[in-house]
């Protein structure tokens, strides 16, 4: 066990330049001060240097003033999960200075704004003051912008100290400001003068260094909400209704950014879509269900509290069989909870969303790239199944920048499912039933408004209905219909994306996880294997569980189920489904609102393994 610990958290040597591309930088600023531009600039310039990086924004639920942190992990090995150790800390905010200083690892580095008049009380930390005010004063920025460019000073100082290529910083700024020369020049000017100041005034005494690599040229960098929006655009979304909620808001905002660019009809210049900002989440999903019923590819996006409000409508869509796509970018609950922290706490709720007997189809993207893929795939699934499909992302995946493989054009044609138009009804001589299970797969045929065949219309309802959508209170009819819905859920098992497994030779220990936890799981497996504990990994990508999940659980002596919530919700759902072998499953759940770390996973698995 101690061997593993050492691997995860090495004690840094102090020789200058001896630790290359393998550390974390955490910047503490105050919210609303414009530090996001600076932090993204560092992240992007490192990425542009070919070095694997990740960035995690830890921000308060506040417009301006409260402390906020941004952590960049630089990893030559490509491990991009959050770490608990901060080698380099940049302290710009007097309010968080004491904590920022305490967070630096022994032998680590503190860069701090020299107008913070709190003494650096640690001797095991290398401290570099930065004359922020002086450098800002010297810049030719208009006075209104001086506060915003103050954060560019630490970009320049870090660049000089660590060896970040200024050309790459320029490219990052060009991207950020979309080629708008004025802010590019202004910000870059500050970076240059700060770097020049650091070169003249700061003697490097710490071991951290960056060097060019070639590990990112096949990747792009973006966030999961942007990817989800783009995936939806390629999935043919016709209608989106939404209500603002962190951390889902940017998903539809990105949709509104890209739809006009990509989805205007080439011939007519007309929009092949409509987006409506609703008055609340009830109306948002109500509109989406109306649109889905009327034959549109319809979606909404929200987070936990919004989904709570949507529950009654979710049940209606399940029972009346309306296709819609619902993105849940999860945050920490219950209630308002921690609205700017990440979680996988909605899984159980979504699985059972709706009163009475419901089981919902869920997609679980595990990367930004997969947010794109599931963005379009969700519509095919929803229309094929004539049901809501819930896509569970989270704040970490949705709002943070990730390096990811480029988006791939959908490799399957759009599938609208079983829709009957005028000529189809004609062929059936007008004889059809909306809820008849003609094909034995539980999926009936449907028509949509605007169908001109006189026999096409039917009356959708949330009340008890027979195979012809006629009101009935007959218990037998009700039971038969509900049994068909259960059959349809079994059909869904064969449609949903299969899990991805990654195995090692000669182990009977499994790990099951999903979503944003994958990088930490893979890093943990690496460390565990080095210490002698091999593991197989199943990354779940959808519910209902497919036969691959069954086989994985049965073929392993024991499996650890890793997720971001208190109660181990996936562990619970698996235990229900696989009750006879549920003792094989151990929950490893992480709750604090931050993304999971490899260290947490390693420690918990070792603790358990030592008892065996």
């Amino acid at each position: 066990m101690s061997a593993v610990q050492t691997k995860v958290m090495p004690t840094p040597p102090t020789k200058v330049g001896s630790i290359v591309n393998d550390f974390s930088i955490t910047v503490g600023t105050s919210n609303g001060s414009g530090s996001q531009t600076s932090n993204l600039t560092i992240l992007r310039s490192l990425f542009k240097m070919g070095i694997p990086v990740s960035g995690k924004n830890l921000f308060p639920s506040n417009i301006q003033g409260l402390p906020t942190w941004y952590t960049i992990r630089v990893s030559k090995d490509g491990f991009l999960a959050r770490r608990e150790e901060h080698e380099i800390v940049v302290a710009m905010n007097p309010d968080s200075f004491a904590q920022d200083l305490a967070d630096v690892i022994p032998g680590g580095v503190l860069f701090y704004a020299d107008d913070i008049k709190i003494p650096v009380s640690r001797e095991d930390v290398i401290a570099y003051p930065m004359p922020i005010k002086q450098l800002v004063k010297a810049s030719d920025a208009p006075s209104g912008l001086k506060n915003y460019i103050a954060n560019m000073v630490y970009v320049g100082v870090l660049a000089q100290n660590l060896g970040i290529d200024l050309d790459m910083i320029h490219q990052a700024l060009e991207f950020h400001f979309k080629g708008n020369q004025k802010p590019i020049d202004l910000n870059f000017g500050v970076v240059q003068s700060a770097a020049a100041w650091a070169e003249d005034n700061l003697e490097k005494r710490d071991p951290y260094q960056v060097e060019r690599m070639d590990a990112t040229s096949d990747f792009i960098m973006t966030d999961g909400n942007t990817a989800a929006a783009l995936g939806s655009v390629y999935g043919g979304v016709n209608f989106a209704a939404w209500y603002p909620i962190t951390p889902a808001t940017s998903l539809v905002e990105e949709l509104e950014e890209y739809l006009p660019m990509l989805r205007k009809d080439a011939e007519t210049g007309k929009d092949t879509y409509a987006v409506v900002q609703a008055e609340d989440e009830l109306a948002a999903i109500g509109m989406a269900i109306g649109a889905g019923w009327a034959g549109l590819r319809a979606m909404t996006s929200t987070s936990g509290p919004g989904l709570s409000l949507m529950t009654e409508f979710a049940g209606l869509a399940y029972y009346s069989e309306v296709p819609i796509v619902v993105w849940d970018v999860q945050r920490v609950g219950p209630s308002t909870g921690l609205p700017t922290r990440t979680s996988q706490g909605d899984l159980s709720m979504v699985y059972f969303l709706g009163h009475g007997d419901t089981q919902n189809v869920i997609l679980l993207p595990g990367s930004v790239n997969e947010c794109f893929e599931f963005g379009w795939r969700a519509f095919d699934l929803a229309e094929r199944l004539q049901w809501p499909v819930y896509v569970l992302s989270d704040l970490d995946l949705g709002m943070n920048q990730w390096m990811t493989e480029p988006f791939e054009y959908p490799d399957e044609p759009i599938d609208r499912g079983k829709v009957l138009w005028e000529q189809d009804i004609e062929k059936l001589s007008g004889k059809w039933g909306r809820y008849q299970d003609v094909d034995g797969d539980g999926i009936p045929y449907r028509t949509v408004p605007g169908n001109r065949h006189p026999a096409s219309a039917w009356f959708a309802r949330g009340t008890g209905h027979n195979e012809f959508a006629i009101y009935t209170e007959d218990g037998g009819e009700y039971e038969r219909n509900m049994a068909r819905l259960s059959r349809k859920f079994d059909t869904a098992r064969t449609f949903v994306p299969k899990p991805i497994t990654d195995t090692m030779d000669g182990t009977d220990i499994g790990i099951i996880a999903y979503g944003s936890t994958e990088p930490a799981v893979q890093e943990a497996r690496h460390h565990l294997a080095k210490a002698g504990l091999k593991t197989d990994f199943l990354r779940l990508r959808a519910i209902p569980f497919t036969k691959e999940v069954t086989e994985f659980i049965y073929s392993h002596e024991r499996s650890y189920v890793i997720e971001l919530n208190r109660d181990g919700q996936l562990h619970q759902l698996l235990s229900l489904e696989y009750a006879p072998v549920c003792a094989k499953l151990t929950s490893v759940a992480h709750l604090d609102g931050l993304s999971i770390t490899a260290r947490f996973i390693v420690d918990r698995i070792w603790q358990d393994e030592e008892k065996k």
Binding site: A241, I285, F407
Partner: protein
């Protein structure tokens, strides 16, 4: 053959349909319920206007009133959704094919209590939609509780006396930026029918607050939602008739005797003056009138307010002529070569 059809199905209209083709399932509401009378007028109006049932989409929420769309226009698509949520369902659905005509039936509980929020917002958006409220002041399906439109002091068997001030649906509609607001009385079927015809021609939200007595729970002579009270207190603003597009107004009126409102589709509403001089295009007058009516216990009926100039929801969206639900996959998925452009827009390593 034609004679035989005429004998069994009745006279055909220009759509080639008999009046019976506009019927729905048999009603399960109480005998004498005002809602049945309104359903009949929806059927009559649609038949007389030669509407193809496939071009209408019906909606409702939950309650006695919301059951009624099953009892008219059986050849039209319909969605009986959730309590108070008809507006959102209808808004989304009408985007499916914006050339269709939407008609919704709600109740006073469905609209003025649980659904007040969505009611307000469908008006803001000016969705082209006929929004009928069958207003009886009482919850029927749950056996006679007060609704939000019940007058204070109303006593109902088993439920005591209502303590709270009522919601005036027509007033809420006028201040809520609805572009067509009418009030009527189920006991005045001719007016109900003409108002429905006019509302079907309106290119925006048309709110019809129709007092529709509940014969089981709230029909005593002193109740403000009863047949007797309605008959005694109805003050018609005008004699209203709807003239379809391309049909001439045949009757000659004296100068100043009528107001003629031209609708978006070329039809017109002819309002023949009765004892009051009333111009329904004046919003502050409409508000003052409703205030006066409430003060004087009048059941004001007729067209209270109309604005034919306000852009409808579909005027402010840039939708194609082809309905969105008939687009080809090739119109819904950007071309293959675009993906490279998209990837280039992301920050590349």
């Amino acid at each position: 053959m034609a004679d035989q059809t005429t004998r069994t199905r009745g006279k055909m209209n220009l759509a080639g349909l008999a009046k019976s083709d506009y019927k729905g399932m048999p009603t399960t509401l109480c005998q004498g319920c005002g809602h049945n009378s309104i359903s009949s007028q929806i059927i009559a109006a649609s038949y007389e206007l030669d509407i193809h049932p496939e071009s209408i989409v019906k909606f409702s929420g939950i309650g006695c009133s919301s059951k009624s769309p099953a009892y008219f226009l059986g050849q039209s698509f319909g969605f009986n959704g959730l309590h108070g949520r008809m507006p959102s369902l209808a808004t989304g659905a009408m985007f499916g094919n914006h050339s269709l005509t939407g008609i919704g039936v709600s109740g006073d509980g469905d609209t003025a209590s649980i659904g007040m929020g969505q009611f307000k917002h469908i008006m803001r958006r000016n969705l082209p939609f006929v929004y009928i409220v069958e207003n009886n002041g009482v919850y029927g399906l749950t056996k006679g509780q007060f609704s939000a439109t019940a007058e204070p002091g109303l006593t109902l068997k088993g439920h005591g006396t209502n303590l709270y001030m009522p919601v005036d649906i027509a007033w809420e509609a006028v201040v809520g930026n609805a572009t067509f607001v009418a009030r009527s009385f189920a006991g005045d079927p001719k007016q109900v029918k003409e108002l429905i015809k006019a509302a079907l021609s309106h290119d925006g939200i048309a709110v019809l607050d129709i007092i529709s007595p509940c014969v089981t729970f709230n029909n005593t002579d002193e109740s403000m939602h009863s047949y007797a009270w309605g008959r005694d207190h109805e003050v018609a603003l005008h004699e209203l008739s709807y003239v379809p597009p391309r049909e001439d107004i045949l009757v000659d009126y004296q100068e100043g005797e009528v107001i003629d409102v031209t609708m978006h589709d070329g039809s017109s509403i002819v309002l023949k003056k009765l004892e009051h001089d009333y111009d329904p295009t004046n919003r502050s007058r409409a508000i003052a009138l409703l205030e006066e009516a409430n003060r004087k216990d009048w059941l004001i009926t007729g067209l209270i307010y109309i604005d034919t100039q306000q852009p409808s929801l579909f005027d402010v969206y840039n939708l194609p002529d082809t309905p969105l639900n008939r687009l080809e996959p090739s119109q819904m998925r950007p071309p293959r070569e675009s993906i490279q452009k998209v990837n280039q827009m992301m920050f590349a390593g």
